[in-house]
Amino acid sequence: MTKILLAVLALVAAPILGALITGVDRRITAWLQSRYGPPILQPLYDVLKLLGKQPMLVNTWQALCAYVYLVGAALSVVLLFTGSDLLLIFFVLTVGAVFLVMGALASPSPYSQIGGQRELLQMLAYEPLLILVFASIAMVTGSFKVSSVFELSRPMLYDLPLMFIVLGYALTIKLRKSPFDISASAHAHQELVRGVYTEYSGPYLAMIEIAHWYEVILVLGICALFWSTSFVGMIVLVALTYLAEILVDNVTARLTWRVMLKSAVGMGLVLTVVNMLWLYAQ
């Protein structure tokens, strides 16, 4: 029964919370650029407007892709909230992300094509990092279950401080923030027109935006697991991480995909090895 309640909570509350976080993000970004910024509810207005626009499709395959991406993102958040398997969450998330790319590649537009290919490179960069983080969580807890993290007596951050940085890398890529916003950018930064999002429009773009809110909640939820012993600790850790993320977004320039791939996988592997050695030495 609690699981059903948690699942409903994940389905309904996660996108609203994701929208609010995105709204706060846009406001803080505006402050950092000495602007006033939009209202906090602006992402909700944007999506409502997009839902009311005329559906324009390049082909029907794109509509299916937008739906699968939304379902994949929503399902992975439900799985996280119900304390399911981390690997299962990872696979569901990946299926959704792959469909987003397929939808972008389904149209002959060069912006969409290059955006789709860059999105694949981004996945190539962040997916090994996520797997490494999940594997090290399993090494600490002895299980891939999210629920087993909550049985720990002290926060995971003490055992896996470097893995948290690795997760930060994946977070930056997944949130589409500088320096890794190469396939499409959050905010209205233009890269390849709109990169992987270029050919999605109207209600389908709204669906992708809602899916992005789910993903924001998912990655922040995984961050929260690192301080699983207290609710306040979780909130503080996630808030600090997100503020750092916004700061990095505003002080860095966009990198090329080669640098992203090398630095993400290289740094990820080195940090993981060091953290694992430290874990064994303890």
Partner: protein
Amino acid sequence: MLGNLINQGRIKSPWVVHFDCGSCNGCDIEVLACLTPLYDIERFGILNIGNPKHADVLLVTGTVNQRNKHVLKNIYDQMPTPKAVIAIGACGCSGGVFREAYNVVGGVDKVIPVDVYVPGCPARPEAIIDGVVAALEKVKKLLGMTA
């Protein structure tokens, strides 16, 4: 109720795409000036989106000529409805000083329906923001909203 919410969203989130239809760049610079911290149009939820498929408002600067009228029409047709068009500057409104030239078709309204005209050579950023707000007022009336 959902309809009301969607209408609210339409008023609060006009994404603009800017098309330079043979302008001297005077008006273009003023359009971009609206994005700077001094004017900050993102306050009103306005984003310069650069993709006609995502945009709600088309800002056109400059005269239309025989070559680029097809491009203008193409961009307009790629925007999903509901949409609005704002012609900016003397050239966008009527063809300006170039209106008698042999290759010039005239103002933007010769090719696509224009909702709001923003005069000026170049149009000031305040006038451009005012033009977008005027377009929103027009949309409000069209949607039957009172507020």
